[in-house]
């Protein structure tokens, strides 16, 4: 079985990162809401091994205007990705700041970051705000890097899910038809709305980090089997669903087991666990 690519991880529990950065430690605890003790970087890599994940996308969140902090900076992401080839770094910029498009360009061209992460619930911006958010989307499309955007429920104590409704992306998709978008968490609880966008627009993708209660197996089965139906997934979305764990909120191995529990046909499994992310990220890979 080909190892997976995890499109959705947050490098927030890395001891080497938070130990010497009290501002980051505070942001992780009070803004992101993760209160577990940090672990050595090696634990992250071993978690990937345990879930048969070859490469992981690292996501920062720039909350400068909303909360006065960055939850891992672009520079820190770049350093991690440079030190560990299994990591793929994404950038984050604050759409409420006028220089956000330039900051994104700098992060991509100078740091080699390969995508953009936005979280409207935490960063407190309107997804369809033409004045603030659209210039960021425009630069993202020009740079030809994907946008991974949090949608739906948020576990952050200061997050506002009302700002993260996936339907508000429709205007963005229409305005930027070449922009590749990943809706995180299948937009739960607005799964039908997120799926509707993906059905209608091939540039819209969905990641599997769905967990609201119960186990990952129960949450993912509820969303993908009961709400959407595996037939729809296989027939219409096979190239738009990506494996994402949302580590460290959830243990990646359990999300991987949950997808395996669905009993997908091997070709679809391969697309979800690896090929769709490889295509989206432009990873040069030979296909059998």
């Amino acid at each position: 079985m080909t190892p997976a690519i995890d499109i959705h991880t947050h490098p927030l529990q890395i001891e080497e990162l938070v130990r010497d950065d009290p501002a980051l430690a505070r942001a992780v605890r009070e803004v992101f809401g993760l209160k577990m003790p940090a672990q050595p970087l090696r634990t992250f890599l071993l978690h990937m091994d345990a879930a048969d994940i070859d490469r992981a996308v690292l996501l920062p969140i720039d909350c400068t205007t909303a909360h006065g902090c960055v939850i891992v900076s672009n520079e820190q992401i770049a350093r991690l990705a440079e030190a560990e080839p299994r990591f793929i770094g994404f950038a984050s910029v604050d759409p409420n700041l006028p220089d956000a498009p330039r900051a994104l360009e700098h992060a991509v061209t100078s740091y080699g970051l390969r995508g953009l992460k936005l979280d409207p619930a935490l960063q407190r911006f309107e997804i369809d705000d033409e004045r603030h958010a659209f210039p960021v989307y425009a630069r993202c499309a020009e740079l030809d890097v994907p946008l991974l955007i949090h949608c739906g429920h948020t576990w952050s104590p200061v997050g506002r899910a009302t700002l993260a409704h996936p339907l508000r992306l429709e205007a963005v998709v229409q305005a930027f038809p070449t922009l590749k978008i990943v809706i995180a968490h299948f937009g739960w609880p607005w799964v039908n709305e997120a799926v509707m966008l993906a059905l209608r627009y091939p540039t819209v993708h969905l990641d599997t980090s769905i967990l609201f209660s119960g186990t990952p197996s129960e949450s993912i089965r509820q969303a993908l089997t009961t709400t959407i139906g595996l037939d729809t997934l296989d027939r219409s979305l096979s190239r738009q669903v990506l494996f994402g764990s949302n580590y460290p909120r959830v243990d990646p191995k359990r999300v991987a087991w949950a997808i395996d529990d669905l009993g997908l046909r091997p070709a679809l499994r391969q697309r979800i666990f690896r090929d769709n992310a490889a295509d989206l990220l432009g990873l040069e890979e030979k296909r059998p």
């Binding site: 992101f32 634990t43 978690h47 186990t215």
Partner: protein, 144 residues
């Protein structure tokens, strides 16, 4: 009386795993200065265990398989929800319950400065929700 406590870190590398602590425990006892007393080995976690068995790979496999049979992964456990105190999903009920079956500590007599144990007895740290950086304690209590 002497009471010497060592807190020891351990990086586990797999989801479930048995790690032989015997050499470390013997070393701590030897360096403790305790001649006659007792050594206690405790894990500091609730999804790990400390146990003693014969140090054979087949028995290690059998023990982990038995735990998986006794506490299967797919029962409707109540401990499957978001824990606000941690900011993480608690989805590891099987790990907790398997740990509860094995227990969190073992102890051995110490006599003439040595651990009194059977020749087949291996002291194990049991990882049940790895990989993680873990800690356990070895405490030696007794007379010089």
């Amino acid at each position: 009386m002497i009471a010497k406590l060592e807190r020891i870190g351990l990086q586990t590398t797999r989801d479930t795993q048995l790690i032989d602590l015997t050499p470390t425990v013997l070393e701590v006892v030897a360096g403790s200065g305790v001649c006659d007393g007792r050594v206690f080995v405790n894990t500091l976690h609730t999804t790990t265990a400390i146990t003693v068995n014969e140090g054979l790979p087949d028995l290690e496999d059998d023990l982990l398989a038995l735990l998986a049979d006794l506490v299967p992964p797919d029962r409707p456990y109540r401990h499957a929800r978001f824990l606000h105190a941690d900011g993480q999903m608690a989805v590891n009920a099987p790990s907790h319950l398997r740990g509860a079956l094995l227990g969190m500590h073992v102890s051995f007599p110490v006599a003439d400065g040595k651990v009194v144990r059977g020749s087949r007895q291996t002291i194990y740290f049991v990882e049940l929700d790895g990989p993680l950086f873990r800690e356990y304690t070895v405490q030696v209590v007794g007379e010089r």
